[in-house]
């Protein structure tokens, strides 16, 4: 398995002291060698074109940013290599921020940036592009026309999403990038619901096996890997201690459930997910693709790096196959 860490561990959206320094190139230049020092030579990059609108090219999360600071994606790869990071394993694009009640406009924007992210992934020689094709259920419900049944709206949404994904498959194949679909717990594709969506699409569309999202949605994660071994395109080891007893998955921002405040995602190895049977399942199905550790929006970046290194060491026998 090819082990990587996700740069989603760096929270750019929420407030905390010293957050503003994360908009500088200097912050990331300092971070890259630390990632390598923690023993990780591969990274996943979240694709976030929203930073382009404010001219935040110091944040390496879009083609514009990379080309502004490094000239070309190749130039960025050279920069990473000098720091000890040898490759970019994948790109994750979530178009949810563009959702409005104008769905035609939304899907136009989705298509535009998904294609951009796909080209970016190819230029960075990444193995996969994973897409969050469904915004949070609460946000979708908010844009459902008043004269339309919510279930019908959701079905129509997924049909449009499936069509968009299908349109991307040929380009993805040509570029040698594996197209994967996320199973976010607060989305239309939560838990088992991602399966019929994936299986309605060409074989070249894969499942993004994301452990925390599956567990929160009530899925037996280890069994899920066995059941859908033939469609797992990439693996995200994410952790959680969250039990969704209040249907947070229906909210507009399920990662921050209103009611009792909690951190839904925990640093990998610090939640309640039992990774041993999951890793054994992945071994049993012969999975040898990318495995990305994602301590999403960690409270402490440097501590999270070392925690993920500790996790990788504790599970080296399964992760180093």
């Amino acid at each position: 398995m090819n082990l990587a860490i996700s740069l989603e561990m760096v929270d750019l959206d929420h407030h905390e002291p010293n957050r503003n320094s994360r908009e500088t190139k200097h912050f990331w230049d300092q971070l890259y060698p630390l990632i390598a020092a923690a023993g990780f030579g591969a990274i996943e990059i979240p694709y976030e074109p929203k930073w382009d609108f404010g001219g935040r090219s110091g944040i390496p999360r879009s083609r514009r940013s990379i080309e502004t600071k490094f000239g070309t994606p190749s130039g960025y790869l050279e920069h990473l290599a000098q720091a000890g990071i040898t490759h970019v394993t994948g790109i994750h694009f979530d178009p949810s921020m563009f959702l409005s009640d104008n769905l035609d406009q939304f899907f136009g924007i989705f298509r535009h940036f998904a294609q951009e992210a796909l080209g970016f992934a190819a230029d960075l020689q990444a193995a996969y592009l994973t897409l969050s094709v469904s915004p949070p259920l609460g946000k979708l419900q908010a844009v459902c026309p008043q004269d339309q049944n919510v279930q019908d709206f959701q079905v129509a949404y997924l049909q449009k999403a499936a069509q968009l994904v299908s349109e991307l498959t040929q380009e993805a194949s040509t570029k040698g990038v594996r197209l994967c679909i996320k199973n976010a717990f607060g989305s239309l594709l939560r838990g088992e619901a991602v399966v019929p969506f994936i299986r309605s699409l060409p074989q070249s569309v894969w499942l993004d096996f994301d452990t925390a999202h599956l567990q929160i949605a009530g899925v037996d994660v280890a069994a899920f890997a066995i059941a859908h071994a033939d469609r797992i395109g990439c693996v995200h080891l994410t952790d959680t201690a969250f039990v969704d007893s209040e249907q947070a998955y229906l909210q507009k921002n399920p990662d921050y459930p209103q009611g009792a405040a909690t951190r839904v995602f925990r640093d990998v190895g610090t939640g309640t997910i039992d990774f041993a049977p999951i890793l054994k399942s992945l071994t049993a199905i012969g999975y040898t693709g990318s495995v990305t550790l994602n301590s999403k929006n960690t409270a402490d970046i440097h501590r999270a790096l070392l925690r993920m290194r500790h996790f990788a060491n504790q599970n080296s026998r399964d992760l180093n196959r």
Binding site: P17, T24, H26, G54, R56, S57, G58, T68, A261, A299
Partner: protein, 307 residues
């Protein structure tokens, strides 16, 4: 303060919770100070505690705010319960010099005016054009076109009880060579000026002279300091210059840079300015510390001159 009301520009980024009632449990999950910056209840209490009567809303935070509160009115009520009023909101008029963009600018501006009214705010502090890079230099005709559409927006705003305050950025397409021409091309009855003290000093204006020259147009302020006065054109006109690669800061808390705020306060007294003044500490590593530091400076160093 009788004449001056202190507001603070919201650079909090996304605040994920409206009000955290299980605060101790939430804190113990990570035992981190992040818990203290996670809900609007606490954020607004910090405003009041550090001496701010108001908050200026950032438009990029609106989607998340409205998802939590449902409406601008609901947020305003929530804030008022904590002793904080919404003084206004920032807005941008990209490509205002392009005739074909007129309708789009007016539509976007109209929506922003409605939102500010709903918040109960008074000021729409407006960046009048796009960044200089890729757009500038603007021609005389461009300046006139931009001034015309902004004036039209200004009249729309006045009808709704809102004041547009031109707010220049040091990297804006309207810049040193045409800044004054632009101001004087706008309708003085409907277009006012939000004096961002650092931005205009970085452009190359003399802060005190600028206030003397335009005091009758200046309706509000973004107060911040700088140690980078009169930056060269090559920097101001560059790409993505607001955030510097090596972490250099353009902006500092009032009193931490080189600007003559005491001189400015003498002028405020001379011309008897009354109204909102927004402290803005964009780029700070610690927003709460900057809020407190700035408030102390205004209330203890400057207030003896004029309050």
């Amino acid at each position: 303060m009788a004449n001056l009301r202190l507001s603070h520009m919201s650079h909090w980024k996304t605040i994920p919770y409206r009000q955290i009632d299980n605060f101790r449990d939430f804190y113990y999950e990570e035992k981190s100070n992040l818990a203290y910056y996670s809900d609007w209840d606490r954020i607004l209490r910090y405003h009041k505690a550090t001496g701010y009567e108001g908050i200026e809303v950032a438009p990029w935070d609106l989607p998340d705010m409205l998802a939590l509160f449902g409406s601008p009115q609901a947020f305003a009520e929530f804030a008022q319960e904590r002793g904080v009023a919404v003084s206004g909101m920032f807005h941008g008029a990209d490509l205002s010099h392009v005739p074909s963009k007129r309708e789009e600018i007016l539509q976007s501006g109209r929506q922003a005016i409605e939102v500010i009214r709903a918040f109960g705010g008074k000021h729409m502090n407006l960046c009048p054009n796009s960044n200089y890079y890729g757009v500038g230099p603007l021609s005389r005709a461009d300046i006139q076109q931009a001034a015309a559409v902004i004036s039209e927006l200004g009249r729309m705003a006045i009808d709704q009880g809102i004041q547009i305050g031109l707010h220049n950025e040091f990297f804006c397409a309207i810049n040193k060579e045409n800044h004054r021409e632009f101001i004087e091309s706008t309708d003085p009855n409907s277009v006012f000026y939000c004096l961002d003290t650092a931005q205009i000093a970085i452009i190359g204006e003399d802060l005190l002279q600028f206030y003397e020259d335009y005091h009758d147009r200046i309706c509000t302020f973004h107060l911040k300091d700088t140690a980078s006065c009169s930056l060269p054109d090559a920097i101001r006109y560059g790409k993505d210059v607001e955030i510097v690669d090596d972490g250099t800061r353009w902006f500092w808390e009032p009193g931490e840079g080189v600007l003559d705020f005491k001189g400015l306060w003498q002028l405020l007294k001379k011309y008897q300015f009354k109204g909102w003044m927004t402290i803005e500490t964009d780029g700070t590593p610690d927003l709460l510390a900057s809020m407190a530091l700035s408030s102390y400076y205004v209330k203890h160093e400057l207030a003896p001159i004029y309050a």
